[in-house]
Symmetry: D2
Subunit: 456 residues, 4 copies
């Protein structure tokens, strides 16, 4: 049983292992009779995969939860459409490696709809209730913005139907980074036309998210930032970004969307939690937005994920978590599923103190390795991520129940529960008073012996 624990602890690796595992004949490969090439095809996409169940820590079944028990837990997991259904395994030095059987190599609306059916079969088999998406993940660009929006409407209508009553988006967002038009930024583009185009795209994405019952809307500025400061008016760009977000907040109200607006800090622009918070405060947006913390962005910015989650929490800005992780020896975002139990436990300590994350949740902004090319890997990866977070939550709950950590922290600060501590915290202890006290008290007590020795 303890071995099982460690298999789990090592599971970012399992993803690769299963490469060699044979999978049954795909039900819907493009080379088949063609029925599956039809967007009306409604058979099973993952015929070899059963509904994933909780079997407890002793289970040796790769396709079962060992820690996440859907009946007990209150974690709000979300599948990320882009990594799970649009990830190709390509990287800067290599062509795509993943060719899922349901893909036909086109970017058509029909293909988009078939892919959406695969998404909901996946979600249902995994047993989660949330998904999230960028507008351009789920439906292809048309020749004009109107045509693009029409494409999206068609796919969204199907998604609405497939969601049923239990599933809906944790959040939606607009993809403002892939298209060349955004190479100089979206809301911070030096081109007014790009700014307007981005606004139109966000407008539509908010409408769609609202229509699907989404609980949040996310802003990730993948191209906001700069290539060189020398050609950049940073002040002007930030002003523009603020106007853009203000307009978004206004539009949200106009359409009656009650979801939370979330900003996602990223290395190289709104780099840290507090950089984003500063921006929101400076521009008077602090009451309209919360933050979406991505763990791999935290580590790339030189913080632990726990640090970023806790910093957001104490500033009242903890909205949602992109529960992924990076490689500590690698300088870019590897977006792996989280497998570090200790870090998951610490993150969950903050989450529990926050009273949970709702209406936010835990979104797997994580991808299969380039070498993982088997559909089963999609399930194994998510199961591993969910089990890691569930173990973290259970550990956190026990630590909080036990109370000794909190007790320790409380004791650490107990000297501030004095009359003088109260004066300080009320802003009533001025420097003259404090100097008088310092002289009266002499060297801080618990250090007396230390001081004695240092004077030898």
């Amino acid at each position: 049983m303890k071995m099982q624990i460690n298999i789990l602890a090592l599971c970012c690796l399992c993803l690769v292992f299963s490469v060699a595992v044979a999978v049954g004949p795909p039900t819907c490969p493009a080379e088949n009779s063609g029925g599956c090439g039809d967007d009306e095809w409604q058979g099973e996409f993952f015929p070899e995969i059963p509904k994933i169940k909780y079997e407890g820590p002793n289970s040796k079944n790769h396709l079962a939860f060992k820690y996440y028990n859907p009946e007990e837990d209150w974690l709000r997991f979300s599948v990320a459409f882009w990594h799970t259904f649009r990830g190709t395994g390509g990287d800067p030095f290599g062509a795509p490696t993943k060719f899922w059987p349901w893909e036909d190599g086109t970017n058509s609306v029909a293909m988009a709809k078939r892919r959406m059916r695969a998404n909901f079969e996946f979600i249902n088999k995994l047993g989660v209730e949330f998904w999230c998406f960028h507008d351009r993940d789920i439906a292809p660009d048309g020749k004009t913005l109107e045509e693009t929006n029409k494409n999206m409407d068609e796919v969204v209508a199907l998604a609405k139907e497939l969601q049923g009553s239990k599933i809906h988006p944790l959040w939606g967002t607009a993809q403002l980074f892939n298209h060349p038009r955004y190479m100089h930024g979206a809301a911070t583009s030096p081109e007014v036309g790009v700014y307007a185009y981005a606004a139109a795209q966000v407008k539509k994405a908010m409408e769609v998210t609202h229509y699907l019952g989404g609980e949040n809307y996310v802003f990730w500025g993948g191209r906001e930032g700069y290539q060189t400061l020398l050609n950049t008016d940073m002040g002007k760009e930030l002003d523009h970004l603020a106007k853009f977000l203000e307009a978004a907040a206004n539009y949200k109200k106009k359409i009656g969307f009650n979801g939370t607006l979330l900003i996602e800090p990223k290395p190289r622009s709104l780099q840290s939690i507090t950089t984003a918070a500063h921006f929101l405060r400076k521009y008077g947006l602090i009451d309209e937005f919360k933050l979406n913390i991505e763990c791999n962005h935290a580590t790339l910015s030189g913080h632990s994920c726990h640090h970023d989650v806790e910093t957001a929490r104490i500033n009242g800005l903890l909205g949602n978590i992109d529960a992924n992780s990076g490689d500590p020896q690698t300088g870019w975002d590897t977006d792996e599923f989280m497998t570090d139990i200790a870090e998951a436990t610490k993150v969950m300590l903050s989450v529990v103190k926050n009273g949970g994350l709702a209406p936010g949740g835990l979104n797997f902004d994580a991808k299969l390795r380039r070498e993982s090319t088997d559909v089963e890997d999609l399930f194994i990866a998510h199961i591993s991520g969910m089990d890691t977070m569930a173990r973290g939550l259970r550990n956190a709950a026990k630590l909080l129940e036990d109370g000794s950590l909190d007790e320790l922290v409380k004791k650490r600060y107990q000297s501030f529960e004095s009359e003088d501590g109260a004066l300080i915290e009320a802003g009533k202890a001025d420097f003259e008073y404090l100097e008088k006290k310092a002289i009266e008290w002499g060297e801080p007590k618990e250090l007396a012996e230390m001081i004695f020795h240092s004077a030898l």
Copy 2:
């Protein structure tokens, strides 16, 4: 002549080279007749070193300025007492290597006074008008706070006299990180007694800075931060820090000190410029404080120095610059003198746009390498840092005069000088208006051809 340029570009190395260069007999070695062991000793500390002059780029004299011309430049350079007069060359793996001839191995008040005389001889020979210090650099701890303050008063009286009419502190500060009492923080210590002690120390340091005619006062929280979040109440600690700074701002007014209060962001606590700015905004301190940017802290936080200076500038928070630099392949602060002309030029572009730094300036928070053990190196290092910044300033001035960089930036954003740009910047372009415009305009113009090709 061009070679000279490059010798300069490589000059962090020179520091090491001169190790082997013989220096004349020290005038005041401790082993001498003992006169110099006396704090009244007032001979020359650097008898081999003449007053440093400007000789222009063709000079081969190591002890001359090639770019910094005191007659022309308006840079406000400051010698940092701690590195220059208290740096020992010690590191985590090694004992001290520097044994300046005027040091007698004691930490007495007499030694502090002799060291202060060396400081002013150095400053005068170098030809700068500012110095800066931590309280504990310049005078030793006594057995009680009163005695410590008395020690400081004695040394400060001498400093006041030696300053004469032209020299004064760019800033003073309190050393709240070296003593074991601060190992858990100063203003963020969990011990109320430590908080009070730190307040008393800052109170005195502000008084002394004021007395000496200092133009700024700096807060560097070397121990504010945490070893582990698990024993830390981050919210409470930040609250305490805010109260502490509020009390400092109040005390400043009370004593009639008009200097600027500066916060120095550092990796691991108020990590970035915007983290510090967020803190100041959140706690209502944004009008009372500016920032002291340290270049090596910037790079350790994943930014260029230029980024941090410019970010402070556009937020109206650029107060002072610690002009040092780190090793890009090294993960800690090596606090080297800056030798990178390109970076110095960029920093100076921001400084010039800021209308200079006054009442702040450029402080050499930089130290000799462990292997540099010759007093001459102290001069060579400062000369190299000053020449680097002066070249940067001249380059920046020419770039700004030439105007093509600014022109380029202006052109880059010119589409916002339209009517619609004005609407956006005034916050009057809502998402519906922008969507209408996006549809009307079609794909952003300059990208039309690109789009055409991407659709092939």
Copy 3:
């Protein structure tokens, strides 16, 4: 004039600046009359760009050399076909941005031939004499290996013709990383079929390089390495790699190719110069291979480029330099053109000490920024890189002529020119002899005073 110097020093930025600069009507855009869609089209690809000339440091012409004088210099610059003609501007978050006018969106042989004509017009206008390529850059994959090889033969025949008598490859190489078949490695793949396929590909690439008069052949193991050690038999994989390289060395001899075989260390597998050297020594390949040093790989591995070049030199392994550079605040290879004069000078010091690089040279493994979409940028970037290296070379030459650096180094070690130094260097000073000497000599002389003080 000095400003010019600094414009240069900042020129990685220029690349971006010229984005907005209008370029004349392209001569061969795909949308034109179609003549250019024909591979026989032989007009001008860069009609707006003249032959690049040396105009000296005072020139303000972006399309002229300020430092590189083809008449004087003996630098062996090479254009890298892949970045310059196959780079798309795409990145992990974004679609391609570059749509050169001669591209028709296909990957046909006809397109490959037209692209090759553009390459040679570029090389001739730039005035260099070398180019380098991966097999798959220059010609498309066919349905079988035979067909692929046939495609390559057709393109190579054209290249041979276009080379004329002065131009030839600095080196050729096989692209063993982009295709999915190599996702688990090439020579280190766990699949024997992939190993054989890679061997066949290298065999052909060596033949082609030889046919074109190439002076070197490079091995870059972009996928050799591992995703996780847990599924990897590192010992077996290195054994396979050694056998592969041994077979390559044998085949080289068989076909009478006299070019140098070069291994290119990269982060994550043969990470450092010495890792590669160790591999070569362990497997008895040290006399058959030299190294290709990439500057950006050096910095990603935690070294300066100078360190890696010098380390290769003292081991007799310096074969060629990929003269690019990275961003010190960025954790992946940004492959920028080198603009740091100080680093270029240091690298050139090693190159001159090496007696030059021939038959190797300086290859620009560097790419335009994503935002640079103008053909003129291709020239500006190369000019800037060439001028940087030429300045470095001139500086290095002057430093060596001047001799004071070498003198300093010589003096630093002069104590080893004693009799005892000679004994040590001859391996004849055993520990007992050295102990006797140490006792006889006492504390090392120049440290005597230091020791005295440390004992106080």
Copy 4:
């Protein structure tokens, strides 16, 4: 019980927690009656601490092993004298914080002997059988080398007595980095006198290690390396280092010391495992030395600890492990006790495959945090490190017993168990043969479907 697991997983923190825990009256504080100021004082140093016992995973006793069972395990743990008994808690920004009750503030021989008694009480209570040391940790410098050696002899005689029959050194080493004489290197110093001094020091340290029954001797070149390449003749320095090590190997034989000689790679000089291995091969020392792998050096060099241990293993060079770990977000060596179960498990997989480490072992080159100032923390830290490694070993054993990981690796490479695989591994498959095979086999089989889709 599971909570216990996680407390452990988080235990680098515990070290800090116990700061506030009251400890009983020290038995031997310097201020006491003075008996303990006497080096003959032989009472208890840790009277509050019992012999540490194994109590199993359910125990809540901080002073008990939960995983390490001395009766079952075959791990060869070693206490590191320098961190545990000479660590002060000082850092570049702060004065020492630890004032152990047995320290009297002097660096006398008497103090050294009393400290040695504390060391053996610690070792006995912890229940380990190894310790390791630098020569200068255990005995103070005298005025001459002879006096220094005499000091050491006196302390070593006591150590020999206190060792008894069960305890002895895992290894000894010479401290060639702290003293200013070594600031330019020891075996790579440009001064022949420093080289000789270092040789004399190593000679004595080897003799002492031999006398105490040490099983290994370690070389850590803390100052071998360079400040700037510009004043360094890297080739000459490496030649000198090789001669030095050769002399050491000869002296070892001469005195009949059968221990293993170990080189410890470190960032900035013999940076990686393979850099060290290359050095040993190049200079013909590969059969005389093995490597001591430090985990925190591995991560600072951009590798995981597992990578370095495995790389040493497959090269037959795995000699010993410094079982510490760093902070992934921190760029210097924090030398923490290892608490990461997953990493410990992976390291142990390599150790088990190596057939254990003997005559090497696991040495805790790890230190208490600056804030840990209680003697109890010394025990808690070691217990946590030992439990982590013991859990790792148990996990590794189970994984190997279970066999599925090995099976997976074996299957991954099974295509090489064919006739053609055998030819390749025997070096008999030349490129022509392989090309023929590649054409015959067509695209590697398991990728056929992938290729099919990529061709769509």
